[in-house]
């Protein structure tokens, strides 16, 4: 089979940082190829080189046997290469139809808007993947999964021969992932080549014909998917061996109930009841829109309950503000690290000590020495990889940023720690570290609620789990029943 793409010896540096140190990538026509690697390994950079966005410092790009010495974005599009970025690059305020047809119309340099033509282009595009959507809906009102399908349809409008998908499953529920995989299979049957960028093991095995793994800007391995095993894959990505996570000793859960929700209802969910024991890790799982996030906000004083009770340590409590939650020693690591969890441009020290401004100051006057000490203690404890805690939080990788959010609340010594999507956008190494840390904390008596739609995470991390669906609690799984099969059954 001939190669649709062959890049050799690609080098690219930014400032003094070598993002790519001579990467080779060969993709056969019609195959589904997976490009894997941890955050910061150069996956995104190589995609941008292929799409002509970055000019490589060295190396050659060959598309369909033609060498492109100076690949530009328009060369890439002409060669049939389309990239679907994580943010999909859609116009949120325009309709589906406009999004689908816009580029085509622009490319033809048409000066007037012809709605009928727009509709024809858009209809053809969505039919290609049997995607059923209201063409007049505004894109921002659609769920993430639909946005992604719009981006895929748009790629097809451009007569794509080779579609690159950058971490397409990050924001999808398991059901939506399955739908995406069906569509990928469909595209493949039409002879379209796909480069699928991911670091999720199960997906990579399910979908790809061959796999290329990058680590720190270098090739580690390229092989057919059939020759890869999970252990090897993890090792190639991280360069580390991990002991099996679920092999931790089963522990005795204390009978002491620290938090109880009784028929709790608020915006986004209703009639939820559960008990959280001391030293326990309780999973709350469900799809996007199941009310899981709203529940976590209610327990943190950010979503006022309309009925029902929250009882903490035997006493009914009112949680109407974060201050009240903080006083009760309840902490929340929020869903969106970038907008809710961190002050991205402020220093790591500031980010960690923001919860301690009162306790580390004297009559309102800050004690800078104590603030710095507190921050460096946590940087050390959680092994946050930074040269200097005065650097901005934005200089850290996703995993280390998440550790900063954890540190900021652990510093306040919470009794109950709620984490919403604790390892979203975090590489395997940091994920492992965070899971280990949470288990340790639970062992020491902290009660933890993990809100997650990552079934593997819930199974390996939690002692018990409750399942939510459409704003209602639809099930509870004890440790002995807590496995991937049961969870998937319960959440679909």
């Amino acid at each position: 089979m001939e190669n649709i793409l062959s890049v050799k010896g690609i080098k690219k540096s930014f400032g003094g940082v070598h993002a790519l140190k001579g990467v080779d990538l060969t993709i056969k026509k019609g195959e589904t190829h997976c490009l894997a690697g941890e955050n910061g390994c150069g996956k995104s950079t190589i995609i941008k080189v292929i799409s002509g966005f970055y000019k490589p410092d060295a190396g050659t790009i060959e598309v369909n046997g033609i060498v492109h010495p100076h690949m530009t974005p328009s060369d890439a599009i002409k060669a049939g290469i389309q990239v679907i970025y994580q943010d999909f690059s859609l116009f949120p305020n325009l309709s589906v139809m406009e999004n689908l047809a816009f580029n085509q119309v622009l490319a033809n340099n048409e000066k007037f808007v012809n709605k009928k033509k727009f509709r024809t282009i858009a209809e053809e595009a969505i039919q290609k993947i049997n995607f059923d959507v209201d063409l007049d809906a505004r894109v921002e009102q659609l769920p993430v999964a639909d946005k992604q399908l719009i981006a895929i349809s748009r790629a097809l409008v451009h007569d794509a021969k080779f579609i690159i998908m950058d971490e397409p499953t990050t924001a999808l529920t398991s059901k939506e992932v399955n739908r995406l995989f069906d569509i990928i299979a469909e595209l493949k049957s039409k002879g379209i080549t796909i480069l699928f960028v991911s670091h999720k093991l199960d997906e990579v095995f399910e979908i790809s014909d061959s796999i290329t793994v990058l680590r720190s800007g270098e090739n580690v391995i390229s092989c057919p998917a059939s020759e890869m095993t999970e252990d090897k894959f993890t090792y190639y990505m991280t360069g580390r061996h991990f002991e099996n996570e679920s092999s931790t000793l089963p522990k005795e859960i204390s009978k002491e109930v620290i938090l109880e929700a009784q028929n709790l209802s608020a915006k986004g969910f209703e009639d939820v009841s559960f008990q959280l024991h001391k030293g326990e890790i309780l999973g709350v799982t469900g799809q996007l829109g199941s009310g899981r996030t709203e529940l976590s906000l209610s327990l943190f004083g950010l979503n006022r309950p309309v009925s029902g009770k929250i009882i903490m340590e035997g006493q009914e409590v009112n949680l109407n503000s974060v201050q009240e939650a903080q006083k009760l020693k309840i902490a929340l690591v929020p869903e969106d690290r970038l907008t809710e969890g961190l002050f991205i441009p402020q220093s790591i020290t500031d980010n960690i000590t923001v919860t301690r401004l009162n306790s580390l100051s004297n009559m309102g006057v800050l004690n800078k020495g104590r603030l710095m000490n507190e921050a460096s203690t946590w940087v050390e404890k959680l092994e946050i990889a930074t040269q200097n805690p005065t650097n901005a939080a934005g200089t850290l990788s996703g995993g280390n940023q998440q550790k900063v959010v954890l540190a900021k609340w652990l510093s306040d010594n919470p009794k109950i720690l709620i984490l919403n999507g604790p390892t979203v956008g975090v590489d395997i190494g940091a994920k492992y570290d965070i899971h280990k840390l949470l288990k340790q904390l639970a062992m020491q008596g902290m009660s933890i609620i993990v809100v997650s739609d990552d079934t593997a995470e819930v199974v390996s991390l939690c002692d018990r789990a409750i399942v939510m669906q459409g704003g209602k609690m639809t099930g509870a799984l004890e440790k002995e029943d807590l496995n991937t099969v049961n969870l998937n059954k319960a959440t679909v």
Binding site: F14, G15, L302, Q323, A325, P345, Q346, A392, T395
Partner: protein
């Protein structure tokens, strides 16, 4: 990418001191005979006190992610109220000044409620409120100039070791502002709220309270400025000092306050106030440059500073 980007709070201040020294040298070399006089310095010191206080208020609001465009009118209203109280109480200076500061606080708190609780964008809220403050000032003064108080004016002309008393007041308040913003937990919270309000809420900061205080403090600073202005000119008028609004923004931005909030050090603002006031006095020494050019010059200066900041931030990001 793990790039090293340190937070140099002080390198902007260093740059400003450098500009200050250069400007001073240019002035001394070109117009030394007119500039290097104690009376000129004393005039600069008096004027910088008023504009400096208002600029401090504007800067603190900018750090919190907003802006206060109503400062000059809060000062006018405060000055007029103070003068009227002094007249009504047959010359009770303290009652008058206290009233001026109180009016400043009330006006500031009003802005704070608009911004923090009613979620009106600060730019619009303070643009609207300045009309209200000006309107009230016109009504209570019948649109006329209100006479000040002779004893107060005399007091304001006083000097300690050659330093005008208003300037000493400014210096004390400015040191207080530096301390508040740089060394207290309240100050840090203002920076946090200005960086990311949502994240501040998730971090347990009472953002509404912080914003309300921020605008109230700005109002108090403007109230003090109103008192100083009343003392210096010995009168107050509803439309006095409208060009100060523009200059306050210019001083804040030149002083290194990030107009998007969350960054900037207060000492820089104070140096910037000096630079601007000196420049203004320097321009006075050129009879050819009439006052008609002032607005043009300040406007150009503001845009130039913004452009310069854009490029220096961009360079820093690349490093």
């Amino acid at each position: 990418m793990t790039k090293v980007r340190k937070l140099h709070i002080d390198d902007k201040v260093e740059k400003l001191i450098f500009i200050f020294v250069v400007l001073f040298a240019v002035m001394a070399l070109t117009k030394g005979n007119q500039i290097l006089k104690p009376t000129v310095f004393q005039t600069i010191a008096r004027q910088v006190s008023e504009i400096g206080l208002m600029a401090l208020g504007c800067s603190i609001c900018m750090i919190s992610g907003g802006i206060d465009l109503s400062g000059a009118y809060i000062a006018n209203l405060a000055g007029i109220s103070a003068a009227l109280v002094m007249q009504k109480t047959s010359g009770n200076i303290f009652a008058g000044m206290l009233c001026g500061i109180l009016i400043g606080a009330i006006c500031g708190a009003f802005n704070g409620v608009l911004v923090a609780h009613l979620r009106i964008p600060a730019m619009l809220a303070t643009l609207g409120s300045y009309q209200i403050f000006q309107g009230i000032a016109i009504v209570i003064s019948d649109g006329k100039t209100v006479q000040g108080n002779k004893i107060l004016a005399k007091f304001a002309m006083g000097k300690v070791l050659g330093i005008p008393i208003p300037f000493i007041i400014f210096a004390v308040v400015a040191l207080g502002a530096i301390f508040l913003m740089g060394k207290t937990s309240f100050g840090r919270r203002v920076y946090f709220v200005g960086t990311n309000e949502k994240c501040s809420i998730f971090s347990g900061i009472r953002t509404k309270q912080v914003l309300l205080f921020t605008y109230t403090i700005s109002g108090v600073l403007c109230g003090i400025a109103g008192n100083l202005s009343l003392a210096r000119i010995n009168s107050a008028k509803a439309d006095f000092g409208s060009s100060y609004i523009m200059q306050c923004i210019l001083i804040s931005v030149l002083g290194g306050i990030n107009p998007n909030g969350g960054f900037g050090a207060v000492p820089g603002v104070i140096i910037a106030a000096f630079i601007l006031q000196m420049l203004s006095s320097y321009l006075n020494t050129f009879p050819d440059i009439s006052n008609y050019y002032r607005d043009l010059i300040w406007g150009l200066a503001l845009i130039l500073v913004l452009i310069a900041n854009y490029y220096s931030d961009k360079r820093k990001m690349r490093k």
